[in-house]
């Protein structure tokens, strides 16, 4: 059925699905809203109908807690979906995601620095105020990703094998740093780091929505220009160059925009694994591996999936909720293993395919 749809129809269907998921996600939770209530509260908040005192509590929950959470969740899904797509294109491999190249771990280390030392005035970054977490997360993510890139590139070429191995090493160093910080931290801060490493939308506010929304809009718009180039890169760097693309410049730009998007998002919601892996995989199976399709579609599907997982996180152990990263790992890790097994059965080396030989 899916294969009959054109790519445009497919994206429209995903868009409708997203609208449904957003409404469901806004309605469901410790405080339940009926669709009629949602409309009434929104209309009152917008000033289209006079605000009634009876609805004040519900309106407050919806505006101050529920809506920012729903939007931040959708944006996070979109960021992770697009990021997974970009990184799989860069590495020419379907088993790559931001967790692999050090991006997430670097962001986590940067943010953990702020969590633990943020209170001490001795450090310069306290002057950044509320921007300290995103700025240091970006610094950490960019530093880690660039280190992986530098180690693995020689003679102006990126070696995929080394890149993956360097990712493991840099991840280990960053995780050790974060682990040390949570070890020396006094208790509430350590708890903050734990929560953050598992991902959470409970702290969502409008400032976070605005920041992630803005960065995502810029990076996503920018990335759409590289659909063709990512396709050409599938053939290998030399073949891409013969098609008029400068592969080294392309790789650098994609790493930059990808890191920016992932770090700012991670600074708000923490580390959420496997979404970036699963989303492009589902789209490849359902439709096509063409990046001009994957880039927009992975933003939509990422948002849909994230909303669904977040609804589940709110429901499974009611009235408490599960950290979102636990759920995505439980769902994503088996998919990842399944993909590895499949690649092995097909006889292709999982880490070294792609590109011209000779």
């Amino acid at each position: 059925m899916l294969s009959r749809l054109t790519r445009r129809q497919f994206c429209l269907a995903l868009g409708s699905l997203l609208a449904l998921a957003l409404v469901a996600s806004a309605a469901i939770g410790a405080f339940t809203f009926s669709p009629a209530q949602l409309v009434r509260d929104l209309a009152q908040a917008a000033g289209w109908t006079p605000a009634s005192a009876a609805d004040a509590l519900g309106r407050n929950v919806l505006l101050k807690l529920r809506l920012p959470r729903v939007l931040l969740c959708g944006l996070t899904g979109a960021v992770l979906g697009v990021s997974g797509t970009i990184m799989q294109g860069l590495f020419r491999n379907p088993i790559v995601e931001p967790g692999l190249a050090g991006t997430s771990a670097g962001a986590a280390l940067g943010a953990a620095l702020v969590f633990v030392f943020g209170g001490t005035t001795a450090l310069a970054f306290t002057s950044l105020g509320s921007l300290a977490v995103p700025v240091l997360a970006f610094a950490g993510a960019f530093g880690a990703t660039m280190l992986v890139y530098r180690v693995s590139s020689s003679f102006g070429k990126v070696n995929v094998f080394t890149l993956l191995l360097a990712g493991i090493a840099v991840n280990a160093v960053c995780n050790a740093g974060t682990g040390y910080l949570s070890y020396v931290a006094r208790d509430p801060q350590a708890r903050n780091i734990t929560f953050w490493n598992l991902g959470t939308f409970t702290t969502a506010d409008w400032r976070g929505v605005a920041m992630v929304g803005l960065v995502f809009a810029v990076c996503f718009g920018w990335s759409l220009r590289y659909g063709k180039a990512l396709n050409a890169l599938m053939l290998g760097e030399d073949e891409a160059a013969y098609l008029g693309i400068d592969p080294q410049r392309l790789i650098l730009r994609l790493i930059l925009l990808n890191t920016l998007m992932v770090a700012v998002d991670a600074a708000m919601v923490g580390v959420i694994a496997f979404v970036g892996l699963v989303v492009p995989h589902m789209l490849r199976m359902a439709k096509s591996s063409d990046y001009t399709f994957l880039l927009p579609a992975s933003a939509l599907l990422g948002a849909v999936l994230m909303e669904l997982v977040d609804i589940a996180a709110r429901l499974v152990i009611r009235p408490a909720e599960l950290p979102i990263g636990i759920l995505t790992a439980v769902i994503g890790a088996p998919v990842f293993l399944g993909m590895l097994l499949r690649q092995q059965r097909l006889g292709g080396a999982p880490v070294a395919t792609g590109g011209a030989h000779g």
Binding site: R92, N93, P94, K228, N231, A232, M234, L235, G236, D238, E239, A241, Y242, L243, G244, I245, D246, R284, S288, S289, D290, G348, T353, G354, G355, A356, H357, G358
Partner: protein, 261 residues
């Protein structure tokens, strides 16, 4: 026409090419011959504008060739390598469409789609256009890659600007059926203002399809020949370090080489 003047190349302190002068002529099938490590691939990469030479110049007619002009070059020069793998199940027609990337912006035009269809028809792969590329056999994959590079430099009849097609050991993984099919398809470009330059390993295949020959030895030109019978057996024996003997095809009368130790 592709002209190399005094081309040299050094990498890691090693001299790979030295003072290479070569002309590859339009509407000819120019073949680069030589043993492994003679610098054939490097020469092709320099001639195709991927690598900048350490010394010397490359021109296509009046046009100076530099890696900085990647986009402009991509519209009139294509390169077919010997084997391209894809890690992703991209459809055959999407792979061929890549050849049109240098020619369109965000979305392909109807003309680009037509060219993709024509290129697929030319390599007899039209009925496979929706199949996933990695599920094709090696020979079929190479046909698709040929369709991609043909789409890149497509022209109806004789176009105003001449085109260049480089082939880097295009048939080294193929059985004789695909070898002959692929090389005949590229010979079909001759007479349309296309310069074909190929590295071929099999000397008999090279002599059968080529009509101009450059023999490379240790980064230097050992011989330039217009016809197969201008290649002396003694030189081939020396360059390839092998015993060589020529026999005549009793029907066609052309030369076939036999090799032994």
């Amino acid at each position: 026409m592709v002209e190399l003047r005094g081309v040299g190349y050094e990498a890691g302190g090693r001299r790979i090419l030295e003072a290479v002068d070569a002309s590859f002529l339009e509407d000819r099938f120019n073949v680069i011959l030589g043993p492994n490590g003679a610098g054939k691939s490097t020469l092709l990469k320099i001639a195709a504008g991927l690598l900048a030479p350490s010394a010397g110049t490359v021109r296509y007619g009046e046009r100076a060739v530099t890696p900085a002009d990647a986009r402009g070059l991509a519209r009139m020069r294509a390169v077919l390598s010997h084997h391209v793998e894809l890690a992703f199940p991209l459809a055959v027609e999407d792979v061929v469409l890549m050849g049109r990337y240098p020619h369109y912006g965000r979305a392909p035009t109807a003309r680009d789609r037509e060219i993709v269809a024509s290129a697929l028809a030319l390599v007899e792969m039209s009925d496979r256009r929706r199949q996933a590329y990695p599920t094709l056999s090696g020979g079929e994959q190479q046909k698709v890659q040929l369709a991609r590079v043909l789409a890149q430099i497509w022209s109806e009849g004789r176009s105003a600007e001449s085109t260049v097609l480089f082939l880097d050991e295009p048939t080294s993984n193929l059985d004789v059926h695909y070898q002959v099919h692929l090389l005949e398809a590229t010979r079909g470009l001759l007479g349309r203002g296309c310069t074909v330059v190929a590295i071929l390993h099999d000397i008999n295949t090279a002599l059968q399809f080529g009509d101009r020959f450059l023999l490379l030895e240790s980064g230097r030109v050992a011989l330039t020949a217009e016809r197969a019978d201008q290649i002396p057996a003694a030189l081939v024996e020396h360059v390839f370090r092998i015993r060589a003997r020529q026999v005549r095809d009793p029907e066609q009368g052309d030369v076939i080489w036999r090799f032994g130790r």
